[in-house]
Amino acid sequence: MNTQIKLSVSTLSVQDCVDWVMAPETGGIDVFVGTVRNATKGKPVVRLEFEAYDKMAINEMEKIARQAFDKWPVQKILIHHRTGVLQIGEIPVIIAVSAAHRDAAFNACRYIIDTLKQTVPIWKKEIFEDGEVWVAAHP
């Protein structure tokens, strides 16, 4: 199988993701690692909470991976996304793409994270000292 897509309630491992996409014919791997920033527009963030519509989220991530395979000569695609409570510095998302040549790996990885943020039904709540907000919910 050339695609691994996972929603997980436990810590994501960059090493595991790179190991999974690497194949003997791989020449380059691009990895995007999202991390929980300690502030949003200057306001300190205490923690994040992620919630997913699991079945549909997996569906949509599989669609994105298929689109990336159609667009670029890539070998393996991995998308891991956390759900639940994440502290500062934790990793909400890892995307890893292997290819014979780096151009395809970079382009596909960028496409996957950009599209994931637009279409995959996962929601992030930012918890501040004085309140909380569902990101992007309101104009």
């Binding site: 999202g34 992620f50 919630e51 997913a52 519509y53 079945k55 549909m56 989220a57 569906n59 996304h81 909400p92 998302v93 994270i113 994931l116 943020k117 637009q118 279409t119 995959v120 039904p121 996962i122 929601w123 992030k124 709540k125 569902w134 990101v135 992007a136 919910a137 309101h138 104009p139």
Partner: protein, 80 residues
């Protein structure tokens, strides 16, 4: 027909729960459903946008809803 609507993110706060049931005419469309929901939950109109999903796929306003479809309201996503 009675339709169960799954809610996520801010929609859960607006519905005050992770699912609600609404009464719809047979052959109602996604557009009809949105209208009913916005009447009952006017805060939906304040969202940046929202979509409906039918059987785990984004639905168009003109799509027809059937009794056993899995319906969900998808407020603006913010994963990644």
């Amino acid at each position: 027909m009675k339709i169960n609507i799954l809610a996520f993110g801010i929609a859960k706060d607006i519905f005050n729960g992770s699912a609600i049931t609404v009464d719809l005419a047979n052959d109602a469309t996604v557009y009809n459903l949105k209208y009913v929901l916005e009447q009952q939950y006017p805060r939906l109109k304040k969202l940046a946008t929202y979509m409906m999903a039918v059987n785990n796929e984004y639905a168009l306003d003109g799509d027809t809803i059937h009794e056993r479809d899995e319906i969900a309201i998808i407020p603006p996503v913010s994963g990644g």
